[in-house]
Structure formats: C-alpha cells, structure tokens
Symmetry: C2
C-alpha cells in the first residue's frame, strides 16, 4: 500500500477516520505516530497528504488536504474473457496497477461456464482488487468494470458503444499472422482497447465478430502465455509504444 | 500444459513411460486415446511428437520422436531480489514462460531475511516452477538459476562473470532519471540483463554497486509495480525493443 485511498463519502470536512486495513497498515507497516504525514488519494480525485492527528486502539484520525494532481485517466481499455476466478483477482490488481480505464469481463466459447457462478465474480468484489492495484501504483482513478455473461450481445451491442472513441482495437490471437509491432507503428498516440481470450484462445467465430467491430488480430509470438502474464506483458508493450516517440524522432 | 516435457534420463530408446501429472494431463485434460499424438519436448533439447502407445491405470506409454528445432536460448537474464516466496513461485513460472536464460536470486538490504529460510527457496523446488513456465510457453530450455544470500559477494564476484557477454545491463530503480526508452535505442540486438529490486527498492549503496558493474539505472515511471507485474512488464518491453527494427527501418 503505497497510497491510502479515501472515499469521498468518508470525508468529514478535512478529517477522515480510518478503522480498516488502512489503519492496520499505518499502525503495523508504516508504524505511524501522531504528527506523521502519509500519502493519500481521493478515489477518482486528487492526490494529497494526510497528517496523523490521533491514534486509538480502534481508529486513526487523519487531517487531510488534497493539493496534488488528479491522475490522468489511462488511455487503454481491456476486454478479458473470464479466467479462473482466483487468477482474475490477481489480473484485476495487475491491470489497475498498470493503468486501465475500463475492463469488460466477458464470456467466450472456451470459458469454463462455472466461473460465472463464483462468489469472486461480481462488480462489488472486483472493486477490492482494483483498489489494491491503485494503492500499489499510487493512482486514484478506479477502472470502470462490467461483466457480460453473453458474448454476442456484448460484442454486437456494448462493444461498439464503449470503443467508439478508441481508434486502436486489438485482439490477441495465437493464429494471427502479424505481431504487435507490425500493426502499431510507434508512436502510439490514441486510445487503445485490447481483447485477451481464454486459455485455449478465441473461437473462430469470436475472432470474426471482433474483426467486424474493427479489431485487428495480432499474435504474441510462438510463446503461449497465461493471462496473468499476458495482461501485464501486453499492457506494458502498449505503454512502451506510447513512450517511443522521442526515440523515433531522434533516429529519423 | 501445452507441451509434455521429457527428461533425457526418462528415455528408453524411443519410448517414455509417464506416471506423474503429465499422465494425469493426458488422461484428464487432453482425454488422449491410444494412437493420439501429443506435442513433446526434450528438456534442453528439441521439440517433437509423442504417440500414445498404451494407457493403463498407472501409466501412459509414449513412442517419441524429436524432429523439431531446439528452441533458441533466450537473450535476457534476470537478477531478482528475493521476493515473498509465494510470489517467487509465480514469478519464476512467468519469467520462464517469457524466456530467460539465467535467473540470479539475490539478497538486498530491503529483502525480508526470513524469506531465505522458506522451503520454497532452493534450486530443486525452483525447477518445478521453471518447468511449468516452459510447458506453458512450449519451450525446452530450462533457465539456469542460482541463489545468493549475500549481496556484496554476488555483485563483486559473480555478477562480473555472468554478465561479461551481456552488453546491456539494466537496473530498475524508482529514483532513476530516465526510462527504458531513453536508454535502449531500438532495435535492441544484444543480450540484456535486468536487475529488479525488492519491495521498497534497492538501497543507494546497492545501486552504486550495480553502476560499478556497468548497470544503467532506469525508472519504470510514476507507477510502483509489484514484482509479479514488473517482471512480465519489463521482460516484454525488452522483447518489443528487440522486434522493433523492422518498423524503424521502414519509417526511417
């Protein structure tokens, strides 16, 4: 926890009372004392500082001020075929730590149907893992997240709407002819959406549906990656393609 | 398990008898029948095919032929401050699935000392997780791995030797002035070694020691990542920098 996230509803003037794992963190990891300051962030708002005003057995009272920036909304969205729920927890935290604006969790032919009935699959429990990633990365912008148990209504009705302002649409597909570098000429300057399939990959008809929506299939190369490796790998490759402009303008 | 890995010691002519989780995988996941062929690889050797000759309750007998390529040795090494052992398991599998030639697990000032006493920390148990990554990625080249409980002897005596043929030496450091793109001008054509610190980062004197050995500190940007996100993120960024040459020569 590199940042204490505070919900706007918790604010009472410039005071916040912490009782949960954030208080535990201040107590046990940071060993905070009265008068110490800690990094805080207002959920979906600015960064700031909290001064420890009082420590009791049950609670820690912070005097807060939010004078920092509001972090930028990340320029990448993800569409993710529902993985094993225990892995999904980790992937959500990874993705929010790397920076993602919207995560759509969807069904696909090769998704194990029982996964949708897991107690971990629901927008409430997702929020916990998304906040873990933000606390890690010192971000405040909670990714929008939604669950779509039916592939076709998602891809035909929802996807066109949520990707209308996203020119770069990519779908990872082991059978694709080209890799990311062949498709995305750096510098990448636009929003991007990245669709990542289930173990076993997307079915052919699913790839066709993505192509109908302007998605370009690309290959990750000969190595088949698990989703908790593929998500950070691809998100960070897109991040690098965004940073590359300086080098290119220098070399050309 | 996208590839059944076979140890050369298991070969009896062109026959292999499987009894462990590989047999379970054939039985339960692939539902193999007599006469089916499956993808196999000889550890540190070529890829090939196995034909199911016989299935009994205890064992599965394969007739094997190794007519494929020997995968290339990956061009990246890692130096990793020992993370929490439960996370190390995952990171080893991730790294070997992404392709790494050598992993040095080392101590650092901000490594929790008790981690070195975990039963998971040892070259024998590491091998299991490395093989999981290779099975996933369909590679056969087992990364060399070693554990170094003392920082200074490692960095002064071992590191110069193992990085002598590795021109690009990078150490991830939140305090560094430059990011990866500013240091590595694509295309990256040489071997690279990547040092990744503990939670809380490297101590100043550790960074100085790495610099003495020709390492360049670089920043991952404002986001602080957990090691199971940082390792796939950085390894895949290096992989992308290796692939970029076509685009650059096209654009320039």
């Amino acid at each position: 926890m590199n940042l204490i996230l505070i919900d706007p509803q918790e604010l009472a003037g410039d005071t916040v009372i912490l009782r949960d794992r954030r208080a535990d963190h201040l107590r046990k990891v940071l060993r905070s004392k009265t008068g110490d300051t800690v990094r805080i962030g207002l959920i979906d708002g600015p960064l700031g500082q909290g001064r420890v005003v009082e420590i009791t057995r049950q609670e820690i009272i912070l005097a807060v001020s939010f004078t920092g920036n509001v972090p930028d909304l990340p320029a990448t969205d993800i569409v993710l075929a529902l993985p094993r729920p225990i892995m999904l927890k980790r992937v959500l935290a990874q993705a929010s730590s790397l920076g993602v604006a919207r995560i759509s969790i969807i069904n696909a032919a090769r998704v194990e149907k029982s996964y949708f009935h897991s107690s971990l699959v629901g927008e409430e429990s997702f929020r916990e893992f998304l906040l873990l990633g933000l606390e890690q990365a010192m971000d405040t912008r909670v990714p929008k997240i939604s669950v779509h148990p039916r592939f076709r209504p998602f891809v035909e009705d929802v996807l066109p709407e949520i990707s209308s302002n996203t020119p770069l649409r990519l779908v990872a597909h082991p059978g694709a002819a080209e890799n990311l570098v062949a498709i995305v000429h750096p510098p990448l300057k636009t929003r991007a959406v990245l669709a990542i399939g289930p173990e076993g990959g997307w079915a052919d008809f699913e790839i066709e549906k993505f192509i109908e929506q302007g998605f370009i299939p690309f290959s990750l190369g000969p190595r088949i990656l698990r989703v908790d490796t593929a998500v950070p790998a691809l998100m960070s490759q897109l991040a690098l393609l965004r940073q590359l402009k300086e080098v290119l303008s220098f070399k050309c």
